[in-house]
């Protein structure tokens, strides 16, 4: 299955535009949280067949951090915030730096040495996942008038293929897609790559696609 089967090219463009605005908000939120000037590239948005998804995220056997949230409201399902191992190290370093700055210690931004405070890594990533889910849902709400909330996040670090087993299995018997949003946050010369996977429940994909179509029509008329 490719993008076109689930969404028309115009609908996909509209989704990309929404996600672009979401990404801008995400960069602002991260900049504030990490006390640095974070920019963001235009996100790559795809609708993928469930079984194709892990391979798009890289080597299925490498350790990857994954924050899982439930979606409730007009669209139900699940949401996964995925951070590859190397990018996880960068994010945690930036957080450490922001915290040290808070107590008056400065450290260079370009050195990404992995020395996470114990327990800090998981809670930081969970919180960043929480924030990004919020800003993306706000963008969807602003355009599509869909109210979506996410439940309390939970995190696991393991092989990406194994982490995504359950949602893929749950969707595999239906013609369904997973919406993948790849973000590249830019900080000076460094890039931090994160993925957001929206896994709508079987009946919710249609709600989402219909709302995108309505919003798109309203925008083109206006």
């Amino acid at each position: 299955m490719d993008d076109k089967e689930m969404l028309s090219e115009e609908q996909l463009d509209f989704l990309r535009e929404m996600m672009n605005i979401g990404a801008g908000n995400a960069a602002t939120a991260l900049s504030q949280m990490l006390h640095c000037e974070m920019n963001v590239e235009i996100p790559v948005v795809h609708v993928l067949a469930p079984r194709e998804t892990p391979s798009v995220l890289g080597d299925p056997s490498l350790p990857t951090a994954c924050v899982r949230m439930g979606m409730v409201g007009d669209v139900t399902g699940e949401l996964y915030f995925v951070v590859p191992d190397e990018d996880k190290v960068k994010l945690i370093h930036l957080t450490e730096r922001a915290m040290l700055r808070g107590i008056g210690v400065s450290s260079p931004i370009h050195r990404f040495s992995a020395s996470p405070l114990p327990g800090l890594d998981l809670s930081v990533l969970t919180e960043i996942g929480n924030i990004l889910a919020g800003v993306y849902f706000t963008a969807i709400h602003d355009f599509c008038k869909l109210n979506i909330c996410h439940s309390v996040p939970t995190i696991a670090i393991d092989m990406i293929q194994s982490l995504l087993d359950e949602p893929i299995v749950a969707l595999s018997s239906e013609v369904q897609g997973i919406i993948l949003i790849e973000n590249r946050f830019v900080l000076g010369e460094n890039h931090i790559r994160t993925f957001l996977l929206v896994v709508p429940a079987v009946q919710s994909m249609k709600v989402l696609v219909d709302s995108i179509e309505q919003a798109r029509m309203a925008c083109s008329e206006g």
Binding site: P54, S151, T154
Partner: protein
């Protein structure tokens, strides 16, 4: 990845093993001394069947506990798909009940004796440990279903590495029947 070489002195070809990848919902049966590898098992379960005398083995990467509970899009878990060329992508391997029967048939077609076949089970984890209330528990269901079916088919289980909250990768060595289980941050374990 075929790794065949000739012995320098004798000129006889050494039969070395080939690594075969089995992805989610796939399965394979072979009598060659290959290594069958399957990466990133979460709630999925890998079942291996092995004829300990003839060294014929099969591995299935099972996604779901029961084919009767789900609606399959194209065919009934591949029950009508008898083309041997499509063996590896056969939908029968997606569900525990059909997958174990498919493996058994595959082994017996290659000459394996039913009383010599033994099984090993790996996987069925619950990846997000604090997600109990919402999680479907598909991993536990997969393990239970696989155990039941093996019991019904009177296949003895020689080893298990199941449950828990972590992912696993497996390597099944057909030359010896060894099954190596790998997990991130843990030592490799043979079952």
């Amino acid at each position: 990845m075929k790794d065949e070489s000739r012995n320098e002195k004798t000129g006889i070809r050494d039969r070395k093993s080939e690594v075969l990848q089995v992805r989610m919902g796939e399965g394979i049966v072979t009598g060659e001394p290959h290594i069958i590898s399957s990466l990133g098992l979460g709630s999925c379960v890998v079942v291996t069947l092995y004829d300990i005398y003839l060294r014929i083995g099969g591995l299935a990467h099972i996604m779901l506990p029961d084919s009767s509970q789900i609606r399959m899009r194209n065919d009934d878990c591949g029950m009508r798909n008898n083309n041997p060329k499509s063996e590896i992508r056969n939908r029968r391997y997606q569900c525990a009940d059909t997958a174990i029967v498919a493996l058994l048939e595959g082994l017996q077609r290659k000459g394996a004796m039913r009383q010599d076949i033994v099984a090993k089970i790996v996987g069925g984890a619950r990846m997000f440990s604090d997600y109990e209330s919402v999680s479907t528990g598909i991993g536990e269901q997969n393990i239970a279903s696989v155990r039941n079916i093996l019991k019904r088919e009177r296949i003895s289980v020689l080893g298990e590495h199941v449950g828990g909250h972590h992912g696993r990768s497996v390597e099944f060595h057909l030359s010896s029947g060894r099954l190596i289980v790998k997990a991130i941050g843990k030592a490799d374990r043979e079952i």
